[in-house]
């Protein structure tokens, strides 16, 4: 059990005083990967058992459904959908992410564990897509949460999604998919961007 030593504590300013006791206010920590064979082996395991968070954020979610059918069958690659962020490793942001959804995306992303990967599906995550000038969507996803693989297209076909997953698998095997640590290192930058655009932030700074 990690004993609480003198770790820096998040201020959680947006929480009303009465609710402060309900939430953990620790900062996210960087967990350095173990070097060598063992990490490769673990990465092989992580790559071949990608559990997707069943959280359809935008129009891309519909692309996920065909993957379960016999025509595309993602199960072949050890990929299966999981209902809770706790148990899932891969978070697919499908299409536009409105500000309101971004707040939920951030909370779900922060509640995911250990090596977690984000796959930006569709051009809206790359540069805002056709909604680039809309008042309530975000343009670049990776300003808010670290993204591993972008799949361009205004809604790329399932094959493209499979290719994206394949590319992600390769990144994991190469040990480059360290989005979680990146988020922990420049947490303040990310948090500032998020809070700039999300005004009704009634949650703790980091949602354990």
């Amino acid at each position: 059990m990690k004993t609480k030593t003198d770790k820096p504590v998040l201020p959680n300013l947006d929480l009303p005083a009465s609710d402060k006791g309900y939430f953990c206010d620790a900062r996210p920590e960087v967990v350095e990967p173990v070097k060598g064979i063992w990490e490769n082996f673990l990465n092989w395991g992580r790559a071949n058992s990608l559990w997707i968070l069943g959280f359809g954020t935008g129009c891309g979610a519909i692309e996920l459904r065909p993957l379960m059918t016999s025509r595309y069958d993602m199960y072949r690659f050890g990929v299966q959908p999981r209902p809770t962020p706790r148990q899932s490793g891969l978070f697919i942001i499908g299409g536009y992410a409105s500000v309101k959804t971004l707040k939920r995306i951030v909370r779900s992303y922060e509640q995911m564990q250990g090596p977690k990967f984000v796959l930006g599906l569709g051009s809206c995550t790359v540069n805002g897509g056709m909604y680039w000038d809309s008042y309530n969507t975000i343009n670049r996803l990776d300003q808010y949460i670290p993204v591993d693989v972008y799949i361009a297209g205004c809604m790329p076909r399932p094959e493209a999604l499979l290719a994206g997953i394949k590319a992600l698998k390769q990144r994991i095997l190469d040990g480059e998919a360290e989005g979680a640590n990146d988020y922990a290192r420049n947490f303040d930058w990310y948090k500032a961007n998020q809070k700039k655009i999300i005004t009704d932030w009634n949650m703790p700074d980091y949602n354990w």
Binding site: L42, D73, Y75, G78, G89, P115
Partner: protein, 327 residues
């Protein structure tokens, strides 16, 4: 057999049946995929999932009881298996069955459920207790047919010890419980459906309503332990059912043993044991098929419907089986 020898044998038999459990789960998933026309996940996928879960770098816990929940659960699974004699007449696979009879096994199942329920309770998530309340309600309902069938067997063979029951069923298919007391077996199988949480009775871990029910807050290493338990617990239940109702597997008798005896005159001990394990694997594999078939083809019952279902027809069948046994 010295104490250490027994522990070693038990460890070995657990190792065998845990891997069998994983492979069984993996192959069933693959068969289900094949039925749906998909290629399906590789048979060894469960191993990878457990590896991935244990490979997680961070984890969160809500308190001591939450942390101990999976330990209780796995202990329950292992314990249930260890109290059942897997292979007849083979000290290697007799596990610790000398410490208690069928009642011990039936009640040890609760040990795992209780631990899981307590751990889920402390997670603080409302979905867990809802899942637990549904699970307990359903469990107490399907207990009835299972109890009646076990009692029927106990009356028939005038003994509660599993080894004695298996011993009584040796010597050909005629004296399997399936033949001597079909009603009890039907009731037991229906109860088995309830136990396996497959579709008609999967309201406990209904993914869409309450994301996987009780273990909703479990993740990384804790979830890995829960998955290991699912395999060994399944294996234990299958072995128990085969022992009670389908003649079990013996290291000194059985169809395969007779074949090899006719070929080799004196069958070496290790061959007898492996043949026993093979018969057990085959029987359990076929038994598990029943739950998969039923699971794939039925919609989900609400909890009160499943309670009313279990306490009506299967209980009557069980009672009939009981009277049949007393004739």
């Amino acid at each position: 057999m010295t104490i250490l020898g027994q522990i070693g044998a038990a460890a070995f038999s657990v190792f065998i049946f845990i891997n069998y459990g994983f492979l069984l789960a993996g192959s069933m998933a693959r068969i289900r995929a094949r039925v749906q026309g998909r290629i399906g996940q590789p048979v060894y996928q469960p191993y990878i999932d457990i590896l991935k879960n244990n490979a997680r770098r961070t984890a969160v816990h809500h308190g001591v009881m939450f942390f101990l929940g999976p330990v209780f659960r796995l202990a329950g699974g292992l314990g249930t298996f260890l109290f059942i004699p897997a292979i007849l007449n083979s000290p290697l696979f007799a596990n610790f069955s000398f410490s208690g009879d069928i009642l011990l096994v039936m009640y040890f199942i609760f040990f795992g459920q209780l631990g899981m329920a307590l751990g889920a309770g402390q997670s603080g998530h409302p979905y867990s207790p809802i899942g637990v309340s549904r699970g307990l309600a359903q469990m107490s309902a399907f207990e009835m047919p299972f109890i009646l069938s076990v009692l029927a067997l106990a009356i028939k063979h005038n003994s509660l010890s599993i080894t004695a029951i298996v011993q009584a069923q040796q010597g050909g298919i005629a004296n399997w419980s399936m033949i001597t007391n079909p009603l009890a077996v039907i009731a037991a199988i229906i109860a088995f459906l309830g136990m396996s949480m497959h579709n008609p009775f999967s309201v406990v871990i209904a993914p869409q309503e309450i994301p996987i029910g009780p273990p909703t807050e479990y993740h990384s290493g804790l979830l890995g332990m829960l998955q290991t338990n699912r395999s060994i617990f399944n294996a234990a239940k299958l072995v128990l059912y085969v022992n009670l109702f389908f003649g079990g597997a013996s290291a000194t008798e059985g169809v395969l043993y007779a074949l090899s005896a006719s070929v080799l005159h004196a069958v070496p001990v290790w061959l007898g044991v492996t043949l026993g394990v093979v018969t057990m694997v085959i029987k359990t594999f076929l038994l598990y098929f029943i739950t998969v078939f039923v699971g794939v083809s039925f919609p989900r019952f609400r909890t009160d419907q499943s309670i009313r279902f279990f306490l009506f027809v299967p209980t009557l069948i069980g009672l009939a089986g009981l009277f049949l046994a007393r004739l």
